[in-house]
């Protein structure tokens, strides 16, 4: 186990380094000057700006300087707003993280419950109802759900009930966090519930469930102790990639609900040719995802003792 984690860590570092290298050279291939404003800039001023940020040096030198600074924890300063990349991420990531965690918890719990319900009450109204919700989540992107929730629950509901339950924008109160988390988590909820339903049905047909029934165990005990425990495995597998989906989808939801999260920097930094911020955000997200996947793999062996991580390597 320790050996497995050690090896995976080395691979992770290599992955992140490769990601950084590719991003660094690709972003410098983009046309455009990070200091251009749409109005001509004095050449001497431009030269001074390029010298200040080291953009006058050959690209390979810039890369070495960047890597060396990054190893010392210095990710540079955003060209656009002058703040350090570290402080930008430190300020904005907590919002995205909280939104992501809330969305993830909501999606997993609600998704599991819906999936279990659908499987247990198979071919009833409960089943088709749950799967209809799942279908909605798969087919409607988060910005549609977000816009609809905001319009109906944020703007129109108060007219009906006479007071405001959900604020339209912001991230200050508990109530303001519900709609964004719901909008962001909805597609993951669908994935989880559909997978859980299939997995549950599969397990419920196993011989050991029949044995349990024959032994006279209660329905409740069979479902929660035997079926769910075994059916949950595939869910853990998809959670890693779902974290990625939620992180990358956050930009749209943050934008709709006016949440000062990190998502926008992903997009605006590229539009602005803000090289340091592009490299910083990519590196941060990359590292985050690599670690998330590692954690999922480790979780796997806790949930199912039959999985031997060392063997998986071979």
């Amino acid at each position: 186990m320790a050996r497995f984690i050690g090896k995976r860590l080395i691979y992770s570092v290599l992955t992140i380094f490769l990601l950084l290298t590719i991003t660094f050279f690709m972003m410098h291939l983009m046309p455009g000057n990070p200091f251009a404003t749409g109005k001509a800039i004095n050449e001497n001023v431009m030269a001074a700006l390029e010298a200040k940020y080291g953009l006058d040096k050959p690209l390979w030198q810039q890369f070495l300087i960047y890597v060396s600074n990054a190893l010392h924890g210095d990710f540079g300063v955003s060209y656009k707003n002058g703040r350090s990349v570290t402080s930008i991420i430190a300020e904005s990531f907590p919002y995205s993280a909280e939104l992501g965690i809330r969305a993830m918890i909501f999606a997993t719990i609600a998704g599991l419950l819906l999936g279990i319900l659908a499987a247990v009450k198979r071919n009833t109204v409960w089943d088709s109802g749950s799967m209809f919700i799942a279908l909605l989540g798969v087919s409607m992107p988060s910005f549609i759900i977000g816009a609809l929730l905001q319009y109906f629950l944020g703007l129109k509901l108060p007219e009906l009930i006479g007071f405001r339950l959900f604020p339209i924008t912001g991230w200050n109160t508990e109530m303001s966090k519900i709609l964004p988390a719901f909008a962001l988590g909805f597609s993951t909820l669908s994935v989880v519930s559909r997978l859980m339903r299939t997995s549950m049905l599969d397990v419920l047909n196993q011989d050991y469930i029949k044995t349990a029934k024959a032994k006279g165990l209660s329905q409740k005990k069979i479902i929660w102790k035997h079926a769910v425990r075994n059916a949950i495995m595939p869910i853990v597998t998809v959670l890693g990639p779902q974290v990625a989906a939620i992180l990358t989808g956050a930009f749209v939801v943050e934008n709709i609900f006016g949440i000062p999260g990190m998502g926008r920097f992903f997009v605006t930094s590229i539009q602005n040719n803000d090289f340091t911020l592009i490299a910083g955000t990519t590196l941060f997200y990359g590292a985050f995802l690599v670690i998330a996947n590692l954690v999922v793999d480790v979780l796997y062996c806790f949930i199912d003792p039959r999985v031997k991580l060392a063997e998986k390597e071979g």
Partner: protein, 582 residues
């Protein structure tokens, strides 16, 4: 993705229309009842409450503050280096220069309570008031201006607009173009700059030539004072004004809270010398909501008091009985033609071809039918926003859009023949920004040129930075661009078309034009200055290296709570004179 977006927009539109239809029909009887009540001379408080100026939206609840949408974060707020419209908006509320603009864009005394101008109009002596203080308690002195202006024109500061302002101040261009490696030369050039503090309250500024609108320039944030000690304590240009407490204020408001990417709040500065006449709203919150549908929802839900409106949103609110505001924001949308050899066809070097290309576009139809907005069709390059319309009125219409399609085609063919180009071989490379409206504009122009002139056009949409790059490298035949003014004079639209000006990507140049602009630049007499500019613009429109299409207007709406906001091409938006309706 785009289709899906279009779908949801259509869906939300339809839903909101339905909802608004409902509220409109329900509000109509209410207002009728209100008028009946008032005719009965016995209006209930509820009835008077519904007779609102802008419509039916009461705005935010707090009686001590208003909340307006800035749409995005000011990237930084350093008055010396900033070029950002949002930063400039906040700075106009919180810092004051020698002069300041009133609601009609006229420069009035700011930190300078009076000034003397020498006979030939090149030396300004400003007398500063003694009661203007920074928010840390130190007085604002002449040295603060000398420091700020010297820093502005020092190339190592990296101020993007320094090149725009340098031609006005004696010694500024020399300083700006000094070798950045040569410290001694830089110091000498800083010493030689024509800005001197005679004493704490007397500032002497020497100009290169007389300048008719110099007092207006003094109200622009790049010319604001900066306290040197504080600047240094913030690590200079690398740290100044990155946060609310990393800068000093001497204006009607101070920034009391700045949560990046979320909101920025300014509060009344009780120590401001003219606090009795400016800053009537105790707290102003600037929101940073970039999504226009979210902004509208927030406005309707009472979370915002003023938002900008997209074309369809304006129609929607008008249908509800609201009266949105509108102003000419000074931006002009135009085509730049590449007249150099890097263009794919030599035809663009011919003025008749360029004129025909411009006239072949039905600008009226583009604005009304395609973009569905109330932009004005351009009749020159300088919009009426300049000089309160006086300049445009004198200039008149320089673009004859009444020509028939046959005449335009004949003009085009004639030009092509002169250039020795077969019109049927022309395929123009058209460069434009990302986004739906840029795309729709391109498609419309493509269609017009194909139909009326029989030429092909290939559309290249790209990011803003890439588009600028393509312009600089002359990697285009035609580019659609927007220009916004820097100051309230037609020169800000016309000097850019001088030969080899950094903003002129057309490669076009005319000695006669350059001469006219240079004369206008040095002319202090208002009428003579304008006469020269009209001559220059007439020449520009005859040659048409650029094809002006429209003058942009902007729409916005205020809640019933907020009145007196100034919005125009040179001050967008100013709330120092605004008030809260009780």
């Amino acid at each position: 993705m785009k289709k899906a977006l279009a779908l949801v927009l259509a869906l939300t539109m339809a839903l909101s229309m339905a909802a608004c239809g409902g509220s409109a029909s329900s509000s109509a009887p209410a207002s009728a009842a209100g008028s009946e009540a008032s005719s009965a001379a016995d209006s209930t408080p509820a009835a008077t409450g519904t007779t609102m100026t802008n419509g039916a939206y009461p705005g935010t609840a707090d009686p001590e503050s208003v909340s307006v949408n800035l749409a995005s974060e000011p990237p930084e707020m350093c008055s010396i280096t900033t070029t950002d419209a949002n930063a400039i908006t906040v700075l106009r509320h919180t810092v004051e220069g020698l002069t300041t603009l009133d609601g009609e864009n006229t420069p009035v005394p700011g930190v300078a309570e009076s000034w003397d101008i020498n006979e030939d109009g090149t030396v300004y002596t400003f007398h500063l008031r003694s009661d203007s203080v920074w928010s840390n308690g130190t007085p604002v002195t002449a040295a603060d201006f000398v420091f700020a202006w010297t820093t502005l024109f020092t190339p190592t500061t990296g101020a993007a607009y320094a090149g725009t302002w340098a031609p006005y101040i004696a010694g500024a261009s020399e300083l700006l173009n000094t070798d950045i490696e040569d410290t001694a030369a830089l110091e000498a050039a800083q010493e030689a700059l024509g800005v001197k503090a005679i004493d704490d309250t007397t500032l002497e500024v020497t100009l290169t030539q007389p300048c008719e609108y110099f007092l207006s320039l003094c109200a622009f944030p790049n010319f604001y004072p900066v306290n040197e000690d504080f600047w240094n304590s913030m690590n200079g240009v690398d740290g100044y004004a990155l946060d609310a407490d990393a800068m000093l204020y001497n204006g009607p408001y101070v920034v009391s809270e700045w949560q990046h990417e979320d909101h920025l709040t300014i509060s009344k500065n009780e120590n401001y010398w003219d606090a009795a006449n400016k800053g009537f709203i105790p707290n102003i919150n600037f929101a940073m909501i970039s999504e226009s549908s979210t902004a509208l929802n927030s406005f309707q839900g009472g979370e915002l008091d003023m938002i900008g409106l997209a074309g369809d949103q304006k129609q929607l609110l008008e249908a509800e009985g609201c009266t949105p505001g509108q102003y000419d924001d000074g931006a002009v949308g135009y085509l730049e033609f590449n007249t150099t050899e890097s263009a794919s066809t030599a035809a663009l070097a011919n003025a008749k071809v360029r004129t025909a290309l411009t006239l072949a576009i039905n600008a009226e139809s583009l604005c009304r039918d395609v973009l569905q907005n109330s932009f004005e069709v351009a009749d020159g390059f300088t919009p009426a926003a300049v000089n309160e319309g006086e300049y445009a009125a004198q200039r008149g219409n320089l673009i004859d859009r009444t020509m028939s399609d046959e005449e335009i085609k004949a003009l085009f063919d004639e030009g092509c023949e002169e250039a020795g180009v077969d019109p049927s071989t022309i395929t123009l490379k058209y460069v434009t920004d990302e986004g739906d409206s840029a795309y729709q504009t391109a498609a419309f122009i493509q269609n017009q040129w194909a139909e009326k002139l029989g030429i092909n056009m290939e559309v290249n949409q790209m990011t803003f930075q890439s588009r600028l790059d393509a312009q600089t490298n002359k990697d285009f035949d035609v580019v659609f661009a927007l220009w916004s003014p820097d100051y309230n004079d037609a020169l800000t639209y016309l000097d850019m078309w001088m030969t080899n000006n950094g903003n002129n990507h057309t490669g076009w140049g005319s000695e006669e034009y350059d001469e006219l602009i240079n004369q206008a630049f040095a002319e202090a007499d208002t009428q003579a200055h304008r006469d020269l500019l009209v001559q220059a613009e007439t020449l520009l429109m005859e040659e048409m290296p650029i094809g002006p299409i429209y003058f942009r207007t902007r729409d916005y709406i205020c809640s019933d709570k907020l009145t007196g906001v100034v919005r125009n091409a040179f001050q967008d938006m100013l709330l120092t004179y605004a008030t809260i309706n009780a």
